[in-house]
């Protein structure tokens, strides 16, 4: 009888109830759309990071804190055995999609061809091209652009690599590489006669490199200078196969990707070739904690001087974006809850005032105060449930329209526009949380007028006009 009465009372003043339920529906719609938007952003960001750097990276102990400044000092010994051990582990085997070594290298990149003379520091990464391509195909969440093969790092010529657009610009390679929207610098004559003489060893190395300088029209070459693990300077030549724009300017201005063997040659020369990292890309992100725990167990078992970092630790930007959008969502939810609260309080207060004699009547018939309170709370809950359910339906329709609208945008962490998509709000935490949250808000908003109704004196209520 309670809910029958509640539903009939709601339909008594239809326009008012529709307006109130509509506000709840708008609140639900806004939260689910924004929830779908943030879910998609998180998924796109995660996908970009995992495609580029995997889920987990094994480093030599201390690399995470100190290694980037001196990668050569933090090489992993006998890395192929370590990789084989990890890859063959029965537990990890089922989780791993790709396991591949990487070598970080820092140094100076120079372009001294023709009348160009430019150099700058670089942050380089030596990778296995085929493994890198397999990593690029990972798309657990089905977001972003479809996979487009890029075999520029798969060339059999182990001296071909990619550079960031910023590196290309500063080294004056934009023209040769035909990079769109990349300005070419005006020629500045080098100071005459007072350049310091090049170290004889380096001069020999540079001369040797220039010996196989390509003919005009071929891919440009740059020189990469770094210190070897022993502290000696070393130079290798890199044939620039193309530009790979990076999402962050600082990274774009320093990025050089090269085959692993070239990076190892630069860092280790003729010594033992090591790597700075072993990257593991898992099939599913949810396996990260289990995989990490297993890796740590294997490392401890074998007494290896290694540490494991996941992609969140390596990319604090991701964690910050997640936190930022989560806080924005929380604020939006608070605003929506406040709107629902005020709307429902207003509606139910009017209902209580209008139905005061009726409240007196059913109290006189023998209803308890608690039942009166429950009756109005039930009305608030039904009103909230109707509005929230309508909002869910609206959200699904809106998301379908938006996802098929052909919109594009460039989210944080991406370099190219991707389809503007909203995730379906099917996560229980989002869907049920929003629905229940707003129904609860509508119910709680009814409490003050419900209490007022329950507390009214019967004779006063009966006399109320």
């Amino acid at each position: 009888m309670l809910f029958r009465l509640a539903i009939r009372n709601i339909s008594r003043n239809r326009r008012r109830s529709i307006m109130t339920a509509s506000l709840v529906a708008v609140g639900t719609l806004a939260l689910l759309l924004f929830g779908g938007f943030t879910t998609n952003i998180f998924a796109a960001l995660e996908t970009g990071l995992v495609q580029g750097g995997g889920h987990l990276t094994v480093y030599r102990s201390g690399y995470f804190l100190f290694g980037p400044g001196n990668p050569a000092a933090y090489g992993i010994d006998d890395y192929q055995t370590v990789m084989r051990d990890f890859g063959d582990d029965p537990m990890l085997k089922g989780m791993i999609n790709v396991i591949t070594p990487t070598q970080s290298v820092v140094g100076i990149a120079g372009n001294f061809t023709g009348d160009t003379s430019a150099s700058k520091t670089f942050f380089g990464l030596g990778v296995v091209g085929t493994a890198k391509e397999r990593m690029r195909q990972w798309n657990e969440h089905g977001v972003g652009q479809p996979y487009v093969p890029d075999d520029r790092l798969n060339d059999p010529d182990a001296s071909r690599g990619l550079i960031g657009r910023g590196v290309a610009r500063m080294l004056g390679l934009c023209g040769q590489l035909q990079v769109p929207n990349c300005p070419v610098p005006e020629r500045i004559a080098p100071p005459a006669g007072n350049a310091p003489p090049l170290d004889p060893g380096l001069a020999d190395l540079a001369h040797a490199e220039q010996g196989d300088r390509p003919a005009a029209g071929a891919a440009p070459r740059i020189d990469l200078l770094s210190a070897t693990a022993g502290g000696a300077p070393n130079i290798v030549g890199l044939e620039v196969a193309g530009v790979k724009t990076q999402p962050v300017k600082e990274l774009d201005d320093n990025f050089v990707a090269m085959p692993l063997a070239l990076a190892q040659q630069l860092v280790y020369g003729r010594g033992e070739h090591k790597v700075t990292g072993i990257v593991l890309q898992l099939r599913r992100t949810e396996d990260v904690p289990a995989a990490r725990a297993r890796l740590l167990a294997l490392i401890a078992e074998r007494h290896l001087p290694l540490e494991v970092r996941d992609f969140r630790e390596l990319n604090p930007f991701f964690v910050q974006v997640v936190a930022l959008f989560s806080v924005i969502f929380l604020f939006l939810a608070l605003i929506m809850v406040m709107i629902v609260l005020f709307a429902v309080v207003n509606t139910m207060t009017m209902n209580v005032v209008e139905r005061t004699p009726e409240i007196g009547t059913i109290r006189a018939l023998g209803e308890r105060r608690g039942t009166i309170r429950r009756l109005f709370l039930a009305e608030g809950a039904v009103l909230g449930a109707l509005g929230a359910t309508f909002g869910v339906v609206l959200a699904f329709i809106a998301i379908a329209l938006i996802n098929h609208g052909g919109f594009h945008w460039t989210p944080p962490g991406n370099t190219d526009p991707i389809p503007f998509q909203l995730a379906w709000p099917t996560r229980p935490a989002l869907l049920l949380g929003t629905w229940l949250g707003l129904v609860l808000a509508a119910t709680l908003a009814t409490l003050p007028p419900a209490n007022r109704a329950a507390r009214s004196r019967i004779v006063d209520a009966l006399r109320h006009v």
Partner: protein, 228 residues
């Protein structure tokens, strides 16, 4: 004779009630004491503003006196908690309000059924008793109509059926036949008499209706808040 048949259905001892409007205090009831025996047809008469409705409200346990003692069927109702008093009203007292006070979102059937729901009467019995009562007041065919689809007289009959359906010990009515034609009024009076015989129900009416006054076993005349 059982004990309940001898205990007065209503006993008021020196009750007084005043209403305060700002700094002004208006006495509505001044020191009234009375006893009403079970199965008695009583009427309270008096001019408007004499305190009839206030007296009826206190007998009906929906208002409390400032001073004095109210016993209904031997129960000191002023000592009951709010919930206990609500349950007591649900079990013991039926009301017929002057302006019907039907619940607008419920049909005639549901309005009459409502007091039985409060007593947790099983659904089958509820339906049987509700239909029988609607039949008795001549509204069986209007069972599914809502109050806004009924005439004033029909509403009053639904209100009377609602008060009688649970066969309470005491039925209180404020001008119950005011909106009824003479034939229906007589039929209702006859129904009440039957209830009185069958269920030992006592009736207390405030009325100006001479036909109802003529039916009364006991008459209380009130003026300026005092019995005269």
């Amino acid at each position: 004779m059982s004990e309940s048949a001898t205990i007065p259905v209503v006993r008021l001892e020196h009750i007084a009630r005043a209403y305060r409007t700002g700094s002004v205090t208006i006495p509505a009831i001044k020191d009234i004491s009375l006893e009403i025996a079970p199965r008695v047809f009583s009427v309270i008469i008096g001019p408007s503003g004499s305190g009839k409705t206030t007296l009826l409200n206190m007998i009906g346990c929906i208002d409390v006196p400032d001073t004095g003692r109210v016993e209904i069927r031997g129960e000191d109702v002023l000592r009951l908690s709010d919930n206990a008093l609500a349950d007591f009203r649900a079990r013991t007292i039926g009301y017929v309000f002057q302006s019907f006070n039907l619940i607008p979102v419920l049909s005639a059937f549901e309005n009459v059924e409502y007091p039985l729901l409060l007593l947790n009467v099983p659904a089958d019995e509820r339906r049987r008793r509700t239909l029988a009562m609607l039949e008795a007041v001549g509204l069986a065919e209007q069972a599914n109509q809502r109050p806004n689809e009924l005439s004033g007289g029909q509403k009053q009959r639904v209100a009377i059926a609602r008060a009688l359906v649970k066969e309470p010990a005491l039925v209180l009515a404020d001008e119950p036949t005011a909106n009824l034609d003479s034939v229906t009024g007589q039929a209702i009076t006859t129904l009440m008499r039957q209830m009185q015989e069958r269920s030992h129900t006592s009736f207390i009416f405030c009325t100006h209706d001479p036909r109802l006054m003529a039916e009364a076993d006991q008459t209380f005349s009130i003026r300026d808040g005092m019995l005269v």
